[in-house]
Symmetry: C2
Subunit: 340 residues, 2 copies
Amino acid sequence: MEVAQRIGQTISFETCQEEWNALAGDYEKCLEKNKEYRKTAESYHSQRNACKSQIDRQMKKLKILKESLKKTSSSNEKKELLDKIEERKRSLDEMGKFLPRKNGFYLRLIVGQVNMILDSTADKFRYKDEYEKFKLYCSITTLGFAVALVFFLNHRVFDAMFSFVLLWYYCTLTVRESILIVNGSRIKGWWVMHHYVSVALSGTNVIWGDNEAYREFRPVLMTFSIYQSLVQVMQYYYQSGCLYRLRALGERHDMDLTVEGFQSWMWRGLTFLLPFLFFGHLWQLYNAYKLMTIGIKYNFNEWQVPALALLFFTLFCGNFFTTINVVIQKQKKRIKTKEQ
Amino acid sequence: MEVAQRIGQTISFETCQEEWNALAGDYEKCLEKNKEYRKTAESYHSQRNACKSQIDRQMKKLKILKESLKKTSSSNEKKELLDKIEERKRSLDEMGKFLPRKNGFYLRLIVGQVNMILDSTADKFRYKDEYEKFKLYCSITTLGFAVALVFFLNHRVFDAMFSFVLLWYYCTLTVRESILIVNGSRIKGWWVMHHYVSVALSGTNVIWGDNEAYREFRPVLMTFSIYQSLVQVMQYYYQSGCLYRLRALGERHDMDLTVEGFQSWMWRGLTFLLPFLFFGHLWQLYNAYKLMTIGIKYNFNEWQVPALALLFFTLFCGNFFTTINVVIQKQKKRIKTKEQ
Ligand SMILES: CC(C)(COP(=O)(O)OP(=O)(O)OC[C@H]1O[C@@H](n2cnc3c(N)ncnc32)[C@H](O)[C@@H]1OP(=O)(O)O)[C@@H](O)C(=O)NCCC(=O)NCCS
Ligand SMILES: CC(C)(COP(=O)(O)OP(=O)(O)OC[C@H]1O[C@@H](n2cnc3c(N)ncnc32)[C@H](O)[C@@H]1OP(=O)(O)O)[C@@H](O)C(=O)NCCC(=O)NCCS
């Protein structure tokens, strides 16, 4: 029928009636399948809840046991038992990875109580990949926008639009990262905080009036935005590289060799990236300093100036110390892997 | 053990060891259950996909059949068959309600490709209920904020914060409504558009500088905000009333009586609400007019003024005509129910 229609043949009512009758069988099958599916869905949900509550109960009992155990006098056996408990906890955690969990506060505020747990490792990987790509596209967009602002878009309105875009971008990132976090990502708390601070920064920028002080800071801010977008693009290559390699690792299962290979790849990526990151952090410190000099020059007659300075300083501190911390941790882990 | 711990009894290492051994059995059971669950999950996902593609195929075939049928000469039989096709389509749609669907553009932009389909009618109801409550709480918050702004918060910064809150509120509403829409809600397109326009309006408000023109419009805007929040609270009572009654209807199954009962309840709620709504719409029109007079007075030296006027005018048109349209539709449906 489809073919007949496509080549423009006229179709009689009888043919239609026949087609309709033929479809009846398919429909019956559909109904049946659907019934079966609803049944499976029901047992899926009830099993899921049962698993969830079983694991929760076990976890609770383990916690109590651990507390009691800690109070007993120390011995080799005690240490062994504690290790075993930790091991069991990890195993239960692993099982809980695909079970529903309560959304975090922010996520609940935005989307409400929908189950956000991705159903399989492949889905989780796809979601993270999508998130990294999203960051990449947004970075490229803000890069283009910032360049345009430096060179030919000179009205304050465009600056405000740029700040709005950043505002939207950071808000969206926070939503997506909350989803990643309920799905077991170990994103450091600071990077999420970082986005809230950036939201405040963009918001303050929007309501800074168009005056001399603003125009003095504008070139610094715009070139910083360009630099930051560029660094984010580099970060994308590093982080999606990590992601793909980690997935390959998870699939291959011959641990020892590849873990070391992964770590050396990561290390090379990181040492390439780090100078750019630190330079960016110093630039944030400079922004804070520059804003303070502007504030002094104009006697702090606008609250936006010291507020922005404070926000940039917060960004500097958080970024700088978190990055250092990450590097130290990775270094330690690397030495440990090499020793083994 | 828990009890012993709570009353502060000391627990020996041996007791701990015993408890650990006792837990081993539970753990085994947990493992088993989890394995079973993973299996069910797998068949759940594959059945879900199978159902989905079967329904899609049926839908496609029905579409082709309908097109061909339309081209045949008209007859009573043809009309009958067309009706049957529509009926079948509805039934397939009903089946598709709990199957995954692609997220809309906006939702994909914000949260990415996570399955947002709520799994059961009860879940859908709960989600909608949560959404209505969210609107209520936000309305009460903005009401309080607006009152504070009128009476004692006089700095421009607080106004900007208020606009930011509204901005956030409308963005979040759009996310939640997108989730409702993929879950089969029939929210009219305009109400979603309404939020985008409101976002633009709040955004423009934020970047309107603090000057005479602004201060002339401020009292009008603030009292309007108060009025709007109040109307939204009333709307909450109407819409959550509809929601609860609809659920009761769905559960009871003795259609004829209750449908009419529901409609008469709805009608009474609506006629109570409508004057307040229309007054609000007229106020939006007045805001547009007021902004134009302000614009003329200051020779339109700020683009924000005509932009806001245009946005308020758009809100008025959309709200007014959509509401009228809804009322007419409901009236028709009511007459039809009564005739039956
Ligand atoms: C230092 C850095 C490169 C380390 O990246 P990394 O190797 O992925 O770090 P970790 O191993 O601690 O990552 C743990 C998790 O957090 C995520 N993560 C790390 N940094 C992140 C960031 N800035 N934003 C979002 N997620 C991040 C990782 O993807 C990983 O996720 P997973 O658990 O789902 O696999 C990274 O944190 C970074 O780029 N920070 C600098 C950002 C910055 O300073 N920007 C301003 C420049 S001007
Ligand atoms: C006129 C009105 C009361 C009708 O409400 P209703 O009876 O629920 O309307 P419908 O039957 O068309 O509703 C269809 C669906 O859209 C939803 N809906 C209706 N109006 C909505 C709105 N303004 N925002 C969000 N969702 C809305 C309903 O909840 C329903 O959802 P469902 O399919 O999940 O059950 C309502 O649309 C309304 O309040 N509009 C006026 C808003 C306004 O003008 N505000 C400015 C005041 S100053």
